[in-house]
Amino acid sequence: MKTLKIDKEKISSVTNANEDTGKTISGAVAVLEVLIAEGVDTIFGYPGGAIIPIYDALYDYHTKLKHILVRHEQGAIHAAQGFARVSGKTGVVFATSGPGATNLVTGIADAMIDSTPVVCITGQVFASLLGTDAFQETDIINITAPITKWNYQITDVNEIPEVLAKAFYIAGSGRPGPVLIDITKDVQMATFNFKEYKKCEYIRSYRPKPVVRKNYVEAAAQLINNAERPFVIFGQGIILGNAENEFRQFIEKTGIPAAWTIMGMSALPTDHPLGMGMLGMHGNYGPNLLTNECDVLIAVGMRFDDRVTGRLDKYAKQAKVIHLDIDPAEIDKNVKADVPVWGDCKETLPLLTELVNKKNYKDWIQKFKDLNQKEYETVIQNEQNPSGEELTMGEVIKTMNQLTNGNAIIVTDVGQHQMVTCRYAKYNKSKSNITSGGLGTMGFALPAAIGAAFGDSSRTTIAIIGDGGFQMTLQELGTIMQFKPNVKIIILNNQYLGMVRQWQQLFHNNRYSFVDITSPDFVQVAKGFGIPGESISKRENLNNAISKLLNNNGSYLLEIMVGKNDNVFPMVPQGRGVADCVLNSDEL
């Protein structure tokens, strides 16, 4: 087992005990020592009564641990998610008991469904007060039971090193996820003998890394080698497994066309010749239609979400399905796998690559291209080069691509702008598309972009947000003001809650029920937080405005007024099969 020596400088002043017998320190100090030993350098948090001892200890640790004071605990957890998704490290959150902890719930659920490694440390009332409805007491362990990979309440100071070690191990291993550790205030203040810190590498009831069974890899290779129209669909598993190269080698060796889910986006550069586009409700025409024409469907690190599959009884019924996933609960959950290849795709993909042959799928790939060309002519061309007076979201993304060359980290919120961005944004590097995929959390983008900017400050971080979502967490402009992450904010303002309006138009007889949302003067709001900005509505200003945004030394807010009534197409209407993907509302 690897062991990490804790930093002894600080502790030696507290006690004169020697190395072998450990040091006497408080629970609060131990928490910070563990974080340092785990390689944590950034914490997103908000103090409060029940976590004061930890913040007190942090007072002496601020040179080793950067603490970003957010404006609302939801902002902390989304920032930690953005940080984790960009850096590949585990995000860390501090919050107090009661409302501090419950404010994390949305982000924890988001991290759970999108498999993001986050460790949340919440303060809790004194152990003696548990269950008494004490001030700021909530049962956060039970509240978060269904939305955490693991959680635990520490009521004995001696448990701190071991439990936190487990927390980091569980959050980051296997299929990653959020872990919440609730620490009672008395435990934070109590002292104990802290010995050499051991990272956790094994839990006897937990199997994060399965042993790969070769016979299934062989069965999969045989299916692939005999296929005439194989199709690869991939998700975030590739990014989480750091298997981008292994994946690329697999598709390049075989020549099989591949399409990504929204979470898998950026695992493969968007202009890769074998990349056929995005799957799902607003995905590309070719991948959606041809899902129902392929003979072998190879799903890699994805979970067949209903936004990807549409109606299950009309999904790829003709195909043999090979499913590579690290989580056995995903096998057969939604789509029955003929060959399950359970394991870490970093290990399974090279084994598979070794056994598969190169084949010529020229005609098959041409089918994707033809369908995508039809989509281009019917939808994309008009959106990216509109003839109307109003700006479209599509041309904004196109212009952004030209100016960033696909090198930026793009964080999106939820709604029409999210779909348009994910449809059109260019990505050259992995870990570049940060979005709330599974939970669809409006308000995600601004705090997540703050976290992303801290996660990799060498790259440009652009947050693309709708006028609705921005108003959900705009308080985090205060965090930008104070801690100066470099976040380029683009608000695509269509003066509606656009996606709901689209559904109301298409499926609810134009009954626009409470989607007409009024916005403040966003530029003035940003100015109040010391963030420069501009609002534009004319095409001739678009290029310059985005250049100004990108070139500004520091954060910047650009509001772009776009068409009020634009819809996102293509679309697989809810309850229909992927092959029923429509290119415009006339086809509905």
Binding site: I141, N142, A145, P146, K149, W150, N151, Y152, Q153, I170, Y202, I203, R204, S205, Y206, R207, P210, V211, R213, Y216, D327, P328, A329, I331, D332, K333, P340, W342
Partner: protein, 196 residues
């Protein structure tokens, strides 16, 4: 798929809060738990949950997999009634005076395989251990005679003729580092997922 009665057996660490984590996996899918028993196993510090539910096999498999995802769960199996030996315990409280005067107690006990647990002036408690039909039978007999209280335990079950898991549990326990390589047998034995 039609719903049937299944017995789910879960081997876990003895951990506060795990009961809730397991229970919410059922409630999330709106599956009612018919009975539940939690007890220690032959391996120290390991706990066994025995849960009875009426569900389709398809859903049972998914429930078992979600349960097994929990960090503190070793294994989760499901069984139909032919694969297990199971028992429930029932207690019956009846007024002593009525029992003494109106029923031939000896015959009653013999016919139903019941024991007398307590005899007091005011009431008597009988106990029956057996399958559902057996505990139901005495309930029906006693009901007309002023049955004061009837209580039945959750099911406890044991596998018919298999020591496969027992061996693996011992392995878990004795050889914790080696068994990190223990294969997961869900997919390994995909045809009989969870059933043995």
């Amino acid at each position: 798929m039609t719903k049937k009665e299944f017995t789910i057996t879960i081997y876990t660490e003895n951990q506060v809060g795990l009961l809730n984590r397991i229970a919410i996996i059922f409630s999330r899918r709106k599956t009612n738990i018919e009975s539940m028993n939690i007890s220690p196993t032959e391996v120290s510090s390991m706990t066994r949950f025995t849960i009875v539910v009426n569900e389709s096999e398809d859903v049972i498999i998914k429930l078992c997999r979600q349960i097994e995802k929990q960090v503190e769960v070793f294994k989760s199996y499901y069984h139909n009634e032919h694969e297990i030996v199971w028992q429930e315990l029932a207690l019956y409280k009846v007024p002593t005076d009525i029992i003494a005067t109106q029923i031939k107690v000896e015959r009653l006990l013999r016919e139903n395989g019941a024991n007398t647990v307590v005899i007091r002036k005011d009431y008597t408690v009988f106990a029956v251990t057996g399958c559902r039909a057996e505990t139901e039978a005495l309930f029906k007999v006693l009901k007309p005679y002023g049955l004061i209280e009837f209580v039945r335990s959750g099911r406890v079950a044991i596998l018919k003729g298999s020591n496969e898991f027992y061996d693996r549990v011992k392995e878990f326990h004795q050889n914790i580092h080696e068994c990190s390589q223990t294969k997961h047998n869900y997919i390994e034995e995909k045809e009989k997922v969870c059933s043995h």
